[in-house]
């Protein structure tokens, strides 16, 4: 029988939750990296024992951790006492330096700041780690201030894919309240050259040549909180999800509005339908039913908690517009938690499991595609991210 391993990043460390295919009884291990913010952890699809973690603190900045044994032990890649030429340490797994080389042909130095002035790019943290679909040593990092980096040596060293910032709209990007973060990285399983990313507050972008050149893919997004609601960039995209069997179909939870694209992001249309509120952060797609999608509506952008004090996952089996509330096993009174953008995941067992974590420290699991839910843990620090690995 297959097993599942849920990777949970929290405000104060990482936790691993494991179970067999029934997903009824769980073992909890952690905290790993106690006291540090773990923005994201994700395992390699081709080597599940290889897991990458983004570790951060306001005091000591960014650290990248890597496990090669399924999370039992961790290392900072190259962080041991190794010396390179000239006696300098090798392995700078936390060194994210923006590309300002002449080869890019652009200075790449500023973006729009809160006050409307231009502001230099400053690295702050890694929001999302996306391991390659084919090589366990290759991994992408979406960072704040928004940029995409790639490592091909197991996170020892990082190089920016500077064509993203350099394609021309960079000076119009601006930070949202949570910072100017590149939080979503989606690799197309059928086209190795195609990558989707999303940035708050700039929008979604796509490359078709492995990251050399990029274009905004925001046509159809409408954001009334920016001067030009239909602008090419400037939209606060919260998350984007894709079913690997249909990589041209994308679903987006925007600041407000749930959106859908059937042409790889070239155009979008709204599918919020009968949701009680279309503000939210997470969105995900069923592992086997590409028209079944999940969101957790949040009351508003000024009240970052669930609507009416009820924790409800909404599921659409029609690719949007028609939504049903999933409440079985979830608190339906006096609940005021949020579910952050990277805090939902699905496994690939025959009966698709759905998982999400809350800012209240609960991690809920549904072994039946959302029909029923139960908490795996209730009292963790605020959950920042949830990923799941389906293990043989």
């Amino acid at each position: 029988m297959s097993n599942v391993r849920v990777l949970v990043g929290t405000r104060k460390g990482a936790f691993l939750l494991t179970s067999d295919g029934k997903r009824e009884k769980w073992d909890v291990s952690g905290p790993f990296f106690a006291g540090w913010e773990i923005y994201h952890m994700k395992g390699s699809p081709v080597d599940p024992n290889r897991i990458y973690a983004s570790q951060n603190s306001s005091w000591s900045g960014q650290v990248i951790q890597r496990s090669s044994d399924g999370g039992k032990t961790w290392e900072t890649p190259g962080g041991g006492p190794q010396m390179g030429p000239g006696g300098f340490p090798v392995g700078e797994s936390n060194k994210f330096v923006y590309d300002t080389s002449a080869q890019t042909g652009k200075p790449l130095t500023t973006h729009q700041f809160y006050d409307g002035t231009q502001h230099p790019w400053e690295f702050k943290r890694v929001w999302h780690l996306e391991p390659s679909l084919s090589d366990p040593d290759t991994v992408y990092a979406g960072v704040e201030d928004a940029a995409l980096f790639r490592s091909t040596d197991g996170a020892h060293s990082w190089q920016e894919l500077s064509g993203l910032r350099g394609h021309g709209t960079g000076p119009k990007w601006q930070p949202g309240a949570g910072g100017m973060c590149l939080h979503t990285v989606i690799l197309d399983p059928k086209d190795p050259g195609r990558i989707y990313i999303a940035i708050s507050s700039a929008g979604a972008f796509r490359t078709d040549d492995g990251g050399a050149t990029w274009k905004p893919i925001n046509k159809g997004l409408r954001s009334t909180y920016i001067p030009d609601p239909d602008a090419e960039v400037g939209h606060c995209v919260h998350h984007v999800a894709m079913n690997p069997s249909r990589p041209g179909v994308l679903f987006m939870q925007k600041h407000w509005d749930v959106m859908r694209s059937d042409d790889a992001g070239d155009s979008w249309h709204e599918v919020s339908g009968n949701l009680p509120t279309d503000f939210g952060f997470v969105i995900d797609v069923h592992a086997h039913e590409p028209e079944t999608i999940y969101v957790v509506p949040i009351k508003s952008d000024s009240e970052h908690y669930v609507h009416e004090g009820k924790l409800r996952v909404y599921r659409s089996r029609t690719g949007g517009n028609e939504w049903e509330a999933l409440t079985n096993g979830l608190p339906q009174s006096n609940c005021y938690v949020n579910v952050l953008r990277d805090a939902m995941a699905v496994d690939s067992l025959d009966s698709c499991g759905v998982y999400f974590g809350t800012t209240g420290g609960q991690v809920y699991a549904s072994p039946d595609a959302g029909d029923s839910w139960a908490p795996i843990v209730r009292d963790l620090p605020a959950v920042l991210s949830v990923e799941v690995q389906t293990l043989p």
């Binding site: 005091w59 900072t76 041991g80 936390n94």
Partner: protein
Amino acid sequence: MIRVELPAHLRTLAHVNTEVRLEIAGPATQRSVLDALEARYPMLRGTIRDHVTLQRRPFLRFFACEEDLSHEPPDAPLPDPVASGKEPFIIIGAVAGG
């Protein structure tokens, strides 16, 4: 021999339980101590000072001999008791809570 005290999170990251003892070639300064510290514990690079600018991270301070040395020039000599190993060079995180 220079003694360096690290904050708890950085001791964990460097896999050390107590203060670190370093041999410094030449004058003991903030820069030479941090260079030696990062050479011996590469996982600390970027966690005390920025990778590129080498500026001290804002929420960390450098104390020694009951003085705050955080704003001293990086190449200024450290106090004699630090250079001789009598007193530690203390890297400390800003207090936060509520």
